[in-house]
Symmetry: C2
Subunit: 342 residues, 2 copies
Amino acid sequence: MKKVSISDIARKAGVSVSTVSFVMNDKAVKMRISREVIEKVENVAREMGYRPNQLARGLRTGKTKTIGLIVENISNAFFAAMAKTIEDEAKKYDYKVVYCSTDNDETKARELISMLSQRQVDGYIITPTLNLAEEIRRLQAENKPVVLIDRYFPEHEEIPSVLVDNYAGVAEGMEFLIAKGYQRIGLVTIEADMAHMHDRLQAYYDTLRKHDMPQDRRLVRQVPYGYVHIAALEEVEDFLTGDGKDCDALFFLTNYLGVLGIEAAKKLNIQIPGDKAFLCFDDNDIFRLYTPTISVIKQPICEIGQQAMAALIERLRHTGTEAPPENTPIKLAAQLVPRESI
Amino acid sequence: MKKVSISDIARKAGVSVSTVSFVMNDKAVKMRISREVIEKVENVAREMGYRPNQLARGLRTGKTKTIGLIVENISNAFFAAMAKTIEDEAKKYDYKVVYCSTDNDETKARELISMLSQRQVDGYIITPTLNLAEEIRRLQAENKPVVLIDRYFPEHEEIPSVLVDNYAGVAEGMEFLIAKGYQRIGLVTIEADMAHMHDRLQAYYDTLRKHDMPQDRRLVRQVPYGYVHIAALEEVEDFLTGDGKDCDALFFLTNYLGVLGIEAAKKLNIQIPGDKAFLCFDDNDIFRLYTPTISVIKQPICEIGQQAMAALIERLRHTGTEAPPENTPIKLAAQLVPRESI
DNA sequence: GAAGATGGCTAAAACGATTTAGTTATCTTT
DNA sequence: AAAGATAACTAAATCGTTTTAGCCATCTTC
């Protein structure tokens, strides 16, 4: 059983292909197709189960009504939730979403962009990796709108982005820890090679300085990218038993690092918050349920998704026309959620 | 800046469109294009940054090299992990994946199938909802291979499926609980409207019967679909304080229910395993990290993804030709992971 | 030196839609 | 009754590929 095409309908209804097309696209009235013919065509189309071929449509119109979403890793809770929001949001605007994961690999990110571009998606929402700005400029030059989420390129204001206010979030967390009387606050982070992580790290140092507290580089541990779970866990354990041993509080700068922290603390029998207070950037089911519950700086995932989508749609509507909307990064407030771990 | 098409290349290289197409598709030798022309075309294509338009290609060839993946909810850990495996697996076979969530809604599932079909995906991997068999038969009739994952239609052996051996998994869990001496084993499940859940439930009853243990319907609680988090939590709390109050062990039949169980136990101050032992079908980060760690029946997520992909690829290769591969559901062994909660 | 083979390309149809520019018949208007 | 307007359609070009059939030299072969 083959698919039915517009010309099958035309033949069966005894009209031309154009007529069918007008009817199917609600242009029948504008094209003054008679009431009877409209009904006839609609009936035949229904009976035959006609579904327009979107490849053909996209080829002809240049619009696929599809947006490409590139995240770091779809199996990560943060990105999975983000993907769901964006999928739901896109639906409201009658767009479909194709998503894929970079695994934080620059080469893979480029390949994904290329693949989506070949599939003629109308616009992009991207969690960028390092050195992706050029590639993204190229998309913009092709008149394909792009909105970044979660990360941004400070030196490229012409690439719109939506993200949490990383600096303010970490600063708030630090203020909270300090107000609670913690003196030696350790930090577990990943490489600060992208601006969003740099901002978080900077907020840590700045807040310490603001309170005239010592800034000891040994209290900051960077877990390298690309470590498999077990290696990363060992790195955190090493920190907890080494340089970070006499910290009274630990601030984990990502979701995943916080989970590692819990795992390591459990293994090393470190009491939370008895031995060390725990604070983590970005929430997770585990943090809500763990004993003790873990305090977090919560990112507004839904808002990020919604605003990114809104920004993208705006640009999709204005392509080529007048002045584009202003492009400064949109930074949304994070929320401190104090729990038992502090 | 517009995209460059095959005819732009042809013009610039001073050859015909066909020649360019042959070169780009490695058919140049077969078509006896001369060495010089091949190089010329390749150079021009590289310089101009040519990327073939996949819509046009798909329209012409009828193949999009894309498979559609329909899961229940991409933000659920199980499906997110599954999606990642399938994405990686597909890449090996040079296929792309488009995924989307049904939210377990029959209507939405139908719409998604229709949308993917309009986009001419070559094949489908589907976590079906109720009453989806007819729709799926239609895809097969159109010569589009389908492989189900996680769930199946026992009355439709012609629809291939790959899933965990639900019956054996639950039976093994029950044997384990019974061997440990638990006498009153409560069950928390969702509606058994689909075969996979029915199998799990049946294994519970059968194992009790096998050991001549009483089968008390009040010890089985069904949490209705579509309950929001808070309502579902209340349902579980109600069970733990009501009918299930004097159970010495609880078996949660899904990942999400297990999380609810933990949350409820925590709120009600129920000790695990002191007051009640906990066992959950399907693993989750939380279960590994919680105190106490929670025992689970672990699904072989990777294997399911791999086998589903393999089955799909096999069918994609054989479309239309000879006898299709045999279609009995492939059931993969679950793994009992005993932890502290028992 | 005519017939056939081979080498090296190209023309044009096709995929399934959308859309512009007609065409034909009927209806107004003067 | 001729000219213009309108109503109700349709033909054909187009999007960017792939692919079949064919064209024209040149080279073999007898």
